[in-house]
Each structure stands twice: as C-alpha cells, then as structure tokens.
C-alpha cells in the first residue's frame, strides 16, 4: 500500500519534470525563432516611422532615465506591434557594463559615460552614439511654511552643504544673517545617486564632496516626506519628485549669477535655470543603430511629436533648439562622447554643435 502510493508520487514527479522540459523546449524554441525571423523581415521593410518594424531591443541602465525609456518603449511598441522592447534598471554603471559587453543595444545614463567605461567599450569593439534625450531640473525644496528661503545662491547652498559645514553649520542664520534663528534640517539623496554626484559637483566643486551629517535616502520619496514634515527642512532631488508633490512643497529659486529663477519646464528650455539643469542620455550602439528597428526607436525617441511623453513622466524635453542638433548627431552617426571631452563651462548646444 505504502509502496504503491509512493510510486504513484514518483510517477507524478517524473511526469511534471518531463512536462517542464517539454514546455521549456517549446518556449526556448519559440523565442529563438521570434528573434531570428524579424531580422529577415525588416531587411525588406523600409524604416522610418512605419508600423511594420519588428525585432527586439534590450535597454538597461539608470533608474532616473527609466521612466522616459519606459514611456517611449510603450508607445513605440504600440505603433510597431512587431517590436519587443525591454527596459532594465541596474543603474547607469551596471547598464554600461552590459552595454559594453554587447548585451544591450541602448544604455540609459543619468551622467556622462566615464573614461573607464569608454575604454571597456573600445576594448569590446563597441562604438556608441551619445544622445541627450531629456533634461532634468535639480530642484531644491523647502517646507511651504518656510517664508525666508525664497531664493538662494550657489554660495549659500555651498555654505550649507560643504564638507566643512559638518557639525558647524546647524542653524539657518549661519547661512545668511537675514534668515531666522532656526535649526537647519538637511535632507538629500544617498551617495549612490546621480543626483547627489551632480549636486555636489555644482555646489561644492567636486563630485561626491558633501557634508555627511544629513538625512540621506536612496528613495527620494523619503526626502519628500522629510521636508513635508519639518518647517525648517531643506532638501534636493530631481524635478519629477517636486512636480508630483508641488502642493506640499516649495521650490527654492536659484540665483546662478543672473537673478533668481524657479525650476520649471520653461526655464530649463530657455536655458535660464542654471546651473541646476542637467541632460539625461541614452547611449546607442552604432552597429545596432544600423538595424531598422533600433533606428526607428531612436527616431521615435527624438521625434518632437513625442516630447509630451517626456513631460508626462516629469522631465523636461530637449526643446526646439537642441532636438535638431541631436537628430543631426544620429543622422551623421557621430560616435564617441562629446560631453566627456567638453570643457566644464560649455553649454549643451555648444557641446552638441561641435
């Protein structure tokens, strides 16, 4: 009796294992053909915006850029049902690692590619085209009850955030004598964040140089909660987080030397919100770009008609000035990183025009 039961159980197990391998074989076979077939098809199909592109595109990289690529992938796939786009979020560095290993065709990046990453790509024989796709306004926020910090200069922010400020600058009136005698509560992103790198570079003159005694979180929503809950708080993050919480937070105007400017789509587009507007990138493999579906995706990404998608997810589009410059870059197949070679003070149009 017992043995019978047991052998029945073994039969079940054997059957289910067998089933698994049959299913897996089918599944594996299925994907193989679906990735091979499209290339044959697309060879005949003319590219350019048509709804008949097919093939798969693998994207990975920055989680900051992710929402833009997700939105583009979603709409691109809706327009071209034969295509399959996946987007991962293993971070800008992790994305480049896969990209330079030939595993992805497109890499999302919230910063410029670094020298060692360029070297890795070169070694693997992967040429890339650097494409700015959107802009982000780094936003300094305070509690709505804060009526003194309407506008701040970079120097004031530096007084607050410099490594030397640690344990010494703890009161608002130390930042500016006109500010009230109130304790300073600082909130900011953690050291792994691209926003942190950018802010410290601009404010303290060196990437990663920051005081350490502030409330840091890798989740920007924590910073939002912190500033919402404390009238004496100040924090910074990407514009999307301010936009989603604009009724419970106040953005500080930034005086970059030419008067106070609030962060907004308009001020980023007209270039007046400096120095806190930063470009976001995708890096596309030059070899992959020759394939019609990848080219179609990049064209779709840069199409001015799709700029509303960028705004929808909380970022600032490239705008009328930059879009043609970037499109020309793709058209000419200009490889290499213009931003990595550019001098510190060059503006985005200047860099792209090179």
């Amino acid at each position: 009796m017992l043995f019978q039961l047991r052998s029945k159980r073994f039969a079940y197990l054997a059957a289910s294992i067998a089933l698994t391998f049959v299913v897996s074989a089918c599944a594996g076979g299925g994907t193989d053909t679906s990735t091979e077939a499209p290339e044959g098809e697309t060879a005949e199909a003319p590219a350019e915006g048509g709804g008949d592109l097919s093939g798969s595109i693998a994207i990975d990289g920055s989680s900051t850029v992710f929402p833009v690529s997700e939105a583009m992938a979603e709409e691109f796939m809706a327009a071209n049902p034969g295509t399959q786009v996946t987007v991962g979020t293993s971070g800008t560095g992790g994305g480049f690692e896969k990209f330079c290993n030939g595993e992805t065709q497109v890499s999302n990046a919230s910063r410029i590619i670094e020298a060692d990453e360029i070297a890795a790509c070169e070694e693997a024989g992967i040429e890339f085209i650097e494409i700015p796709i959107a802009q982000d306004a780094l936003t300094v926020v305070v509690n709505p009850e804060n009526d003194w910090a309407e506008c701040m200069t970079i120097e004031q922010l530096s007084t607050m955030w410099a490594p030397e400020a640690q344990d010494t600058v703890t009161n608002w009136n130390q930042v500016d004598p006109s500010f009230p005698d109130a304790p300073l509560a600082l909130y900011g992103p953690g050291t792994d964040s691209g926003t942190f790198d950018y802010f410290t570079d601009v404010v303290n003159g060196e990437e990663g140089a920051s005081r350490g005694d502030y409330t840091s979180s890798e989740d920007d929503n924590v910073i939002v909660q912190g500033v919402v809950g404390d009238p004496n708080a100040i924090g910074y993050f990407g514009y999307a987080f301010f936009e989603a919480n604009s009724d419970s937070l106040k953005a500080v105007q930034i005086d970059g030397g030419e008067g106070c400017v609030s962060p907004s789509v308009e001020t980023v587009l007209d270039g007046s919100y400096t120095p806190f507007s930063r470009p976001l990138f995708i890096y596309v493999s030059a070899a992959a770009l020759e394939e019609p579906h990848v080219r179609g995706f990049v064209d779709f990404y840069l199409d001015a008609a799709n700029a509303s998608l960028v705004e929808e997810v909380g970022y600032v589009p490239l705008g009328d000035e930059l879009t043609p410059l970037v499109q020309a870059r793709v058209e000419n197949g200009t490889t290499g990183s213009a931003f990595a070679d550019a001098p510190e003070e060059a503006s985005i149009p200047e860099i792209l025009a090179q």
Partner: protein, 306 residues
C-alpha cells in the same frame, strides 16, 4: 547586613517563613514574565497587522482583473503586474524543482550515510557558512556560472539562470532543515529497521524519511519564501523592470514581483505607490498560496503515516 539582623531565627523557622512569604512573590514574578512574553507576542502581531492593514487599505481598491492582466506602463492606471507575476511563478517553480531534490538528497546523505569523518565535517562547516553568504554574492556566482559558462544550456540572462541561482541561494537552508528533521527521528527506529535486516536505504526510505517529511517541507517552504522576496541576485542576473510580454523559461527578458514593486515605490507619482501596495498584496497572495499548498501536502503526509 544580615549578620546584624536581630530577627535571625532558627534555621527551620526561617526557611518556613522564607518559603511562605516568597510564594506570592514567585507568583508575581511568574506574572511579570507572562506579561513580558505576552507583550513580545502582541508587539510582533501589532506591527504585522499595522503593515498588513496599511498595505491592504492602499492596495485593495487598485487590485482588479485589469491590474493582474496588464503589462507595465508609464501611466499608473494602465500599468499591471502580469509579466512580473508570471516571472515570479516561473522562478518559484524552477527554484523548487532544483533546490528541493538536491537539498533533501544532500541532507539525507550527510545525516544518514556520511558518518562522522573529516570530509563530512568539512562539508558541514561549509554549508553552514554558505547559509550566511549575502544573496548578492550568489547573484555574482550565478552571473559567472549560469549566465556565462552555461550559456548554451541556460540561454544567458533567463528565468532558467535566475531560478538556478535562487536554488543555490536556498540550498544550504534546505540541507540544514532536512538534517534537523532527520535528526529529530528517534534512532531506535533506524535500529529496529536494521535489526530486521533492512538495508540503510530501505530504513531511510520506508521509516525515517516519512517521519521527517513534514519538517523537511516546512524548511523548504521557509527557504522558498525567502527566495521569492529576493531582488539583488535577480538584478545581477539580468531581471528587467519593463517587460511588456509574458516571460518564457529560456527567453531573455523577465521580471519579478519584488523588482516591479521596488520600481513603483521609488516613482515620484503617488498613483504608482498605490500600484506598489497592490503589487505587495499579489506577492503575499502568491506566498500564502504556496504555504497553503505545503501545509496541505504536509497534512497528507502526516495522515498517511498513521
């Protein structure tokens, strides 16, 4: 102090007094300890209940058929959890398929067959150490071995590779649980079996293993529950966040529930946070379904033993 105590009575009367006066004191101590352990239990339950209620309030209104059957999207209302849900179920299946037989087999070998020699002791120490290795290390191991070396078999960054990596991750836990369960079976059972002329394997198969099976299952379930909550090794293996199709066993491009939930939690828009709560509920349902299956199986095995 006691030396100058004028109330120092004879030995026996002092002992009597001591005993009777302390009775209520000991009861009080008893009560204090009871209350302390009650508070400990209730604290754990209250925290759990608070978390559950918070997630349920946020997530239940969002949880509908559309949510279960849709792919990710930039708009929170249209986004769904189908790809990560299927990915997680795939992963569970592959992980259990490999970790369970290998883990239980190794546990049986070490407990019943290996004896007490140097080799077994070295294995034992290493398995104990492996159980404490951070999961990201397993992710890197999986990347090097399953994604790169076994590329022709696993297909690279696939559900198959990720499932194998998670299987490795929980293998030590299953082995340790199996050994504990086997150790709890009285050795008189083994002696009786062998005294009647059964071989070691017959004794293990017919008597020891059925006794230990419920314990083994419990350990496996705990291990699998850990596996489905893992994110770090999956990201290393290559799990994606935006997967607009149902992932297959050996196809590239898969996602898992914890990754999707993590992505939604980190988004600026509050609607995505609601999606995350609904995603957590889906994850909990998968977990509860899995545990229920195991408890059902365990009860059947227990009933069978009678």
């Amino acid at each position: 102090m006691t030396a100058t105590d004028p109330n120092a009575f004879s030995q026996s009367s002092s002992a009597e007094q001591h005993f009777s006066s302390d009775l209520s004191g000991r009861y009080r101590l008893d009560n204090i300890f009871r209350i302390a352990s009650w508070v400990a239990t209730v604290t754990a339950l209250v925290v759990l209940a608070f978390l559950l209620i918070d997630v349920l309030i946020d997530g239940i209104p969002r949880l509908d058929w559309q949510f279960i059957t849709s792919f990710p999207s930039r708009s929170a209302e249209r986004a769904g959890i189908l790809a990560p849900l299927v990915g997680t179920i795939w992963l569970l299946f592959v992980t259990a398929l490999f970790a369970f037989p290998i883990g239980v087999g190794a546990g049986i070998f070490l407990e019943e067959f290996a004896g007490d020699n140097l080799f077994a002791r070295i294995l034992e120490v290493n398995i104990g150490n492996l159980a404490a290795v951070p999961s990201i290390i397993y992710g890197l191991l999986g990347l090097a071995v399953f994604v790169r070396v076994f590329l022709p078999i696993t297909g690279g960054r696939t559900v198959f590779s990720a499932g194998l990596t998670l299987a490795l991750l929980i293998l030590p836990v299953i082995i340790v649980a199996t050994r504990e369960a086997l150790r709890a079976v009285p050795s008189s059972l083994r002696q009786a079996g062998m005294a009647l002329g059964a071989t070691r394997w017959q004794t293990v198969r017919e008597h020891v293993l059925p006794q230990a099976f419920p314990g083994i299952l419990t350990g496996t379930i705990l291990a699998l529950s850990r596996a489905i909550g893992e994110t770090a090794p999956l990201i290393v293996i290559g799990a994606q966040t935006f997967v607009p199709f149902v992932p297959s066993f050996r196809g590239t491009g898969f996602s898992a529930l914890p990754i999707q939930i993590f992505n939604w939690v980190g988004r600026p828009q509050a609607e995505f946070h609601v999606n995350a709560a609904a995603g957590i509920i889906v994850l909990m349902i998968v977990l509860v379904a899995m545990n229920a299956t195991a408890i059902y199986l365990r009860n059947r095995f227990q009933a069978e033993k009678m």
